[in-house]
């Protein structure tokens, strides 16, 4: 160890454990702990620790935002547009205001406001009961002047389509959207093209190609379907605002609230109890969050606003539908020479319907061109959803690569081997192929009989994201109890348990010894739980803080034992001298000797030791991306069109795996969501009326227990030496490859390619029928 200035050099484990580990030297901040060894040398980190709230969750004892009860709590409901496109001519709330039980009324769409989708908010009411609020909505009189509307991507692209934003009307975009969209041209309903990421000379690339494949792909609108609805309880008081909210970013919502309502950050407190999923749809305050606060301010009482299932489906975001045209050129040996992507997607009345950097970045191809467009339709606005962009992007690109392999007569794994520079995915392909039994794979459609089986695979690409505005406090109290505190929230993934593991490892304790306080902005500001960055961002801060507290404790214990602090280690609930482990004190005794009631340290997430690839504001991207390769085995009943996913092998990586049990659980969730996306889910809008016909969980088909295949999760340990924990995220990477892996397996089963999602019996039968008629 050498120290100079305020950094020192340390040697970190480096590489993929199953391939063989190396070491790498990193310059790290002086105040940060020494490198962790690989997981097999650790006691708690990297072990399948049960989540701390498991019992509370399965017994129903867990408290969610909807369970928050306050004295005098009012209940809010939102009146929503019954028309897909209309001008509000008049809105009359007089009868409502006089209604008993009604405490606040908010006009959201005053006269002349244009409503652009069924379910757009018109007015909101807070009343003493849910039923009173519901009844009050019926007393609001609104005159709507209907306008022409368009609810599907293809029609909206036509020059004669009704305009969602007629000339002179600008899309009302969130700040984030304006950053993305401001430079792009609006023609009719089409905004774009966005050509970011293009490189090389595409014409020359295709001229060099000996083989070209070219196809259209379509993906549907998928909704988040969080089992816990969007929910907020807002309590506006003279001395400040307290909000309980089901949110993926407490600190961000606090900032939005302070800005929106002219409050100081210190006057706003945001809390979140347990969450039942967010998948990207609970990343911001949202208009509904604002309405709840406004109603509370008006009523001078706390207000509870909880979406019903229809509101979830209509107005809480969705994954955009896309149409993608991919053209790929390659030499006969499989080396790619050109990839061109033309995409039109729809995020409803919002923007952000692109397909990300998947086709651009997955394979090394010198020539790439991209043109991505947002198409406005009269439907609810999209919001990021688990692997936004890359998930629909992967469905197209990973099938196109298989189409190329088919045309070249190459094994899809071999074609990828030649073009994919990632060492992580190379190892993942090897492990996955072995586990699924890739050598059993036959020619497409080779099975006799009506039920055909097939094997397929697809790859994933996702950024290893880090939020550098991430802080954590660790406290040691005189009775030996240890607390970890951060505003970071658990959207269901179990980050609280992982924090306990990190702190327990440092103190030589068990995870259950650590008391975790999270989800409250009264604690040091933590990162958001979107972009698969929670673990990467907050666990280094937690370890840094724990290490600092440990140093304080060691100094005290060292003095009493007459040794130097550097000679001490914490293990098995004791603090002992490394050379003679019989000498030492129990952790509890050590704590009892504290001069003060507690000692504590707050620490932050420093930059990745090897630097970031990009860093904008609080948001950074690691040097290396996250990989992921999934294999699927399917059977297809060619007489009924039914696809059954029999088995999925998901080979994933997330840097240093912190808790394999929680990671496996997330990967299983990602795979199930991918199966649901591949086979079942689709928001259906009636073109006659503009209404969503399946704004419920009855006709919006979500994967169920009988669709769940055997899911095998193989996890790489991929050490990068980039932070105090070296951990990265898993949520989104586990969702991206599933649908194309299934589609490729379906092709292998029946010899017919399904390029449209979802792959329903109707779609399978139509594809088979087309082939029959061709032959």
């Amino acid at each position: 160890m050498t120290v100079s200035d305020n950094r020192r050099t340390e040697k970190f484990p480096f590489g993929i454990a199953s391939v063989g580990l190396d070491e790498i030297e990193r310059r790290i901040p002086a105040g940060e702990p020494p490198p962790l060894p690989p997981n097999d040398a650790l006691q708690v980190i990297g072990k399948p620790v049960r989540r701390q709230d498991a019992r509370a969750k399965v017994t129903g004892a867990m408290r969610f935002t909807v369970d928050v009860k306050l004295p005098g709590l009012l209940h809010a409901r939102i009146l929503r547009s019954p028309l897909p496109h209309a001008r509000v001519q008049a809105i009359d709330i007089e009868a409502v205001a006089r209604q008993p039980g009604v405490r606040a009324v908010l006009v959201i769409a005053s006269s002349d406001t244009i409503l652009r989708y069924v379910g757009a908010p018109v007015a909101a009411v807070a009343a003493t009961t849910q039923a009173a609020a519901e009844a009050a909505l019926r007393l609001i009189r609104v005159n709507y002047a209907p306008l022409p509307f368009v609810v599907d991507l293809d029609t909206a692209r036509r020059p004669d389509a009704p305009l969602v934003y007629p000339a002179g009307e600008r899309p009302s975009l969130s700040i984030a959207e304006i950053l993305v969209a401001s430079a792009l041209k609006l023609t009719g309903n089409v905004r774009g093209p966005d050509t970011q990421g293009s490189r090389g000379d595409i014409a020359q690339g295709f001229a060099q190609a000996q083989v070209i494949v070219e196809s259209d792909y379509r993906t549907q609108t998928q909704t988040h379907c969080c089992l816990e609805p969007h929910a907020i309880v807002a309590d506006w008081r003279a001395d400040g605002l307290t909000v309980w909210m089901s949110t993926q970013f407490t600190a961000g919502v606090r900032r939005e609230l302070a800005q929106t309502f002219g409050l100081k950050l210190g006057e706003v407190r945001v809390k979140v109890a347990a969450m039942g999923g967010g998948f990207g749809s609970k990343s911001q305050l949202g208009t509904y969050g604002r309405y709840a606060v406004m109603l509370s301010r008006q009523a001078k009482a706390p207000v509870r606003l909880v979406f019903d299932r229809a509101e979830e489906q209509l107005d809480s975001g969705n994954r955009p539908a896309t149409w993608q045209h991919l053209r790929i050129g390659a030499r006969r040996d499989g080396m790619l020479t050109a990839v061109s992507l033309l995409e039109y997607g729809t995020a409803g009345v919002g923007v952000g319907a692109g397909v990300g950097n998947f086709a651009q970045a997955l394979y090394a191809c010198p020539n790439f061109s991209s043109a991505q467009n947002d198409v406005f339709i009269n439907a609810g606005r999209s919001s990021p959803m688990r692997g936004p962009g890359n998930t629909p992007g992967a469905f197209a690109m990973e099938q196109a690569i298989d189409e190329l392999a088919d045309k070249l007569g190459l094994d899809p794994l071999v074609l990828r081997e030649r073009n994919d520079p990632s060492a992580v995915r190379r190892e993942q392909r090897r492990l996955g192929a072995q586990r699924i039994g890739w050598d059993r794979r036959h020619q497409p459609g080779a099975d006799a009989g009506p039920v055909k089986r097939g094997l397929g695979m697809a790859q994933s690409l996702w950024g290893a994201n880090v939020h550098t505005n991430a802080a954590c406090e660790v406290r040691l109290l005189r009775d030996g109890s240890v607390e970890v505190l951060s505003s970071v929230q658990d959207l269901g993934t179990g980050i609280g348990t992982i924090l306990a593991q990190v702190v327990a490892e440092e103190f030589g304790l068990r995870p259950d010894d650590i008391i975790v306080h999270i989800g409250d902005t009264d604690f040091p500001a933590g990162p958001p739980s979107y972009g698969s960055q929670t673990t990467a961002s907050i666990t280094p801060a937690a370890r840094n803080a724990a290490w600092k507290v440990k140093q304080m404790l060691f100094r005290q214990v060292a003095a009493s034992l007459g040794v130097a602090p550097e000679q001490l280690v914490a293990r098995g609930g004791r603090i002992v001298v490394l050379e003679d482990t019989t000498r030492g004190v129990s952790f509890r005794e050590a704590a009892a000797g504290l001069r003060t009631e507690q000692i504590s340290a707050v620490a932050t997430r420093s930059d990745d030791y090897g630097g970031f690839r990009r860093h904008m504001g609080d948001q950074a991207g690691a040097q290396n991306d996250i990989g992921g390769v999934q294999f699927a085995e399917v059977s297809v009943d060619t007489e009924t069109g039914t696809i059954r996913v029999e088995r999925v092998v998901a080979v994933q990586d997330c840097g240093r795996p912190m808790n394999p049990k929680l990671i496996e659980s997330q990967v299983q969730g990602g795979v199930l969501m991918g199966i649901s996306y591949a086979l079942l889910e689709e928001r259906v809008i009636d073109r006659q009326t503009g209404h969503v016909m399946n704004a419920d969980l009855e006709q919006y088909k979500l994967v169920g227990p009988r669709e769940a295949p055997s899911i095998e999760v193989l996890l790489l340990e991929n050490y990068q030496g980039q932070s105090a924990t070296d951990a990265y995220g898993i949520a989104e990477p586990s969702n991206i490859a599933t649908a194309p892996a299934i589609a490729n397996a379906v092709f292998n089963a029946i010899g017919v390619r399904l390029r449209t999602l979802p792959m329903t019996p109707a779609a399978v039968l139509a594809a088979l029928d087309t082939r029959l008629r061709r032959n």
Partner: protein, 349 residues
Amino acid sequence: MDRFVWQVARSVTEAATLAGRTVAEAMLADPGQPAAPDCVVLKAGGIDLLDLMKEGLLRPSRVVNLREVPGLAAITEDSSGLRIGTLVTLEQLATHPALRQRYAALADAVASSASPQIRHVATLGGNLLQRPRCWYFRSVAHHCARKGGEHCFAFAGENQYHAVFGHEGCAIVHPSTAATALVAFDARVELVNAQGVPRSVPLGAFLVGPGIDVKRETDLGAGEVLTAVLLPPTAASTRSVFLKQAARSSSDWSIADVAVVLDRAPDGRCQRACIVLGAAAPVPWRAQQAEAALVGQMIDAAVARTAGQAAIAGAVPLSRNAYKLPILATLVRRAVLQAAGAPEPENGR
């Protein structure tokens, strides 16, 4: 949901006297208006009723609970067949030994429906009287023909789950899988009026298509209570099979289902066949041409295939549901083969 009065009926005649109108009639009231004071509806399991009320499609002023009425929840058997009380739950039916043994298609049909939670509460009577699941019908925003409006939205709309037969002015499919099997067994329903007078009619006649009346699915009269379902006895040689395909296998409505009941002579020839298609038409749809293709035949793969094709003859698919036809033909073929104990060719299942 609006406030309503909860009342417990103690007898069938009391319930029949209170029932001022059928749910179908009550739903013709303006959905924007609060409940009329005389809007009284009967509740058995309450599964569909609660759904209709939550969606704002039905606003009763009074709900009369049938569940306390004695004698309606029993399954009894005598020489005239099986009598299933209207309050028997779907779960009881699915697991009843006599049903499993002699009316397997019915037990399987019921077991394939809904979710375990719902099957434990839902009753057979309620299942037969439930309103259709058509998403236009279930939407307050769509004033469709079945709710007293001008037209059926499905013909020019999202009709992937709609009827391929018998859609005269309305393209709903009958929602009950139990009904598919019951019609195949020639079941009758027993109805009792306010005077306590019973009548019994074949289920196939009790369920009415839109050609007869687009605003109701049954012949239930106001002031009538469906008290039981009557199943004629089966012969020792009777074999029955029910097959269903849904968008997903977990807790979902049928895309297509079929019940096949076969009687075979000692020489193995088919003596009598009853084939009913579900989720194919506004009522359980008897596939008589398919039945005719079987009678007098030794059933093998070729005969079964002919029956499957005959079952979809005359279908008129809508813009987005032609895919149902090969599925129906396949289910009929497979069900016939299974009922005849003939092995499926190749690896079909």
